[in-house]
Amino acid sequence: MTIETLTARRLLCPLPVIRTQDKVKQLKVGDRLEVICTDPGVMQDIPAWCRINGHKVIEATSGNHEYTILLEVGSS
């Protein structure tokens, strides 16, 4: 399992989701991706995108105007 980090600071929705989508395409089932954003909307959108596409949100945290989502790539 690899853990990758994607920085999507300053990007507004839906760009963080698009960047996440594109990055996940390069990963394998079980890999983890940490996405760091500044748009609070990602707290809704990335989990929604994960639900639709069969990936799992492991953790979503926020602080200091940053929002970080750790997800695990599913098999869809």
């Binding site: 600071r9 300053r10 507004l12 929705c13 839906p14 760009l15 989701v17 698009i18 989508q21 500044t38 748009d39 609070p40 909307g41 809704q44 959108d45 929604a48 995108w49 639900r51 639709i52 596409n53 105007h65 869809s76």
Partner: protein, 347 residues
């Protein structure tokens, strides 16, 4: 057993495309959604930059629609390719800077490419004849189908019965009888259909699906093009048009004034790319200066910056200026009076 057909539905996040996709899913077709991000899409999140809009839902409507319908959604970044559509629309602009007909043709063409690459059978849109004055007229329907190259692989389930049968109908992949014949601007048939499907929470964006249909946004875009002398743009340029108050006292520079904290934080991210100003003797907003201001212009910009802070009535306000090379200095200015700021300065 006959092969299960697959369709891609253009999903804008609004009700019509949702109903179109649902209509076809109900017929046993495998439907996935596709949404194109042009850089001008209206999203709850863009508003969410502003603190005062915090109560507004911040969901992405396309993702929400996909989840409600239980289908996958592919969000495609078309920012670069879309530039040509906006800069040179063959069919012209709508009421504002919206090149709707060219935009539709472009998106359906992208969807056509997508179905070829992904082995899907046809394309669905939520278009309704007569719904929109420019892009959704009976005369424009064949133009979109033809110029996009989708031809009769493009099915509009909401008004299909008013149009010639497409390949999916002729081949029996979908039952034409179960498609619809909606026309005109009334939303009643869609609302009734939503009720029938048990869909009660949907987005009906007043200004359509993108900023280009917005009068004040379009004015800012035209101002940007005029000031730079050409129509090229970067994503950051068009993002910044969504934020703050834009004031152009001279053709060679404009100010972007944060209207509140959320916008201030957003503009903060651009501080290294612009000259910036902030009042330090009194509370005031962050201001970015776009263009090539002279020393005199900077003084005027500082006076305007002071006007938007709490020192607006003060005799003197200290304004910190950070130049592009990072150097800083403080200008002591008297805030400009409201009556000395012509309305024409506000873009």
């Amino acid at each position: 057993m006959s092969k299960q057909r697959k369709a891609i539905a253009l999903i804008s996040g609004g009700l019509d495309s949702m109903l179109a996709a649902k209509t076809i899913m109900e017929q046993g077709v495998h439907v996935e959604g596709i949404n194109f991000f042009t850089g001008f899409c209206v999203e709850g999140h863009t508003h969410a930059i502003r603190e005062k809009d915090k109560a507004k839902p911040k969901r992405n409507n396309s993702l929400w629609v996909a989840e409600q319908l239980g289908m996958k959604l592919h969000i495609v970044d078309v920012i670069e390719e879309y530039k040509n559509v906006l800069i040179n629309p063959k069919h012209g602009y709508g009421a504002h800077m919206n090149p709707c007909l060219d935009c539709k043709i472009f998106m359906v063409n992208k969807a056509k490419q997508w179905i070829v690459e992904n082995d899907f059978d046809f394309i669905i849109t939520g278009e309704v004849i007569g719904q929109r004055p420019m892009s959704q007229r009976k005369a424009t329907m064949p133009i979109v189908a033809k110029e996009s190259g989708a031809d009769d692989l493009l099915l509009r389930p909401l008004c299909a019965k008013n149009l010639p049968a497409t390949l999916p109908e002729r081949e029996g992949w979908v039952d034409r009888e179960k498609l619809h014949d909606i026309t005109g601007r009334s939303r009643k048939p869609q609302i009734a259909m939503a009720e029938q499907f048990g869909i009660d929470d949907y987005s009906q964006p007043a200004g359509g699906c993108c900023f280009l249909t917005d009068k004040s946004y379009s004015a800012k875009l035209v101002d940007l093009w005029k000031s730079q002398g050409h129509k090229e743009y970067q994503l950051d340029d068009v993002m910044l048009l969504k934020v703050g108050r834009h004031i152009r006292p001279q053709p060679n520079f404009k100010l972007i004034v944060a209207r509140e904290e959320g916008e201030g934080r957003f503009l903060q991210g651009y501080k290294n790319e612009f000259i910036s100003m902030i009042s330090v003797s009194h509370r005031g907003p962050l201001v970015l200066i776009d263009g090539t201001p002279s020393a005199e212009d900077l003084y005027l910009a500082a006076q305007i910056t002071a006007r938007f802070g709490q020192g607006r009535e003060a005799e003197q306000v200290d304004v910190d200026v950070t130049m592009l090379d990072g150097s800083e200095r403080t200008l002591q200015v008297k805030p400009i009076r409201e009556e000395d700021m012509p309305k024409a300065w506000y873009v």
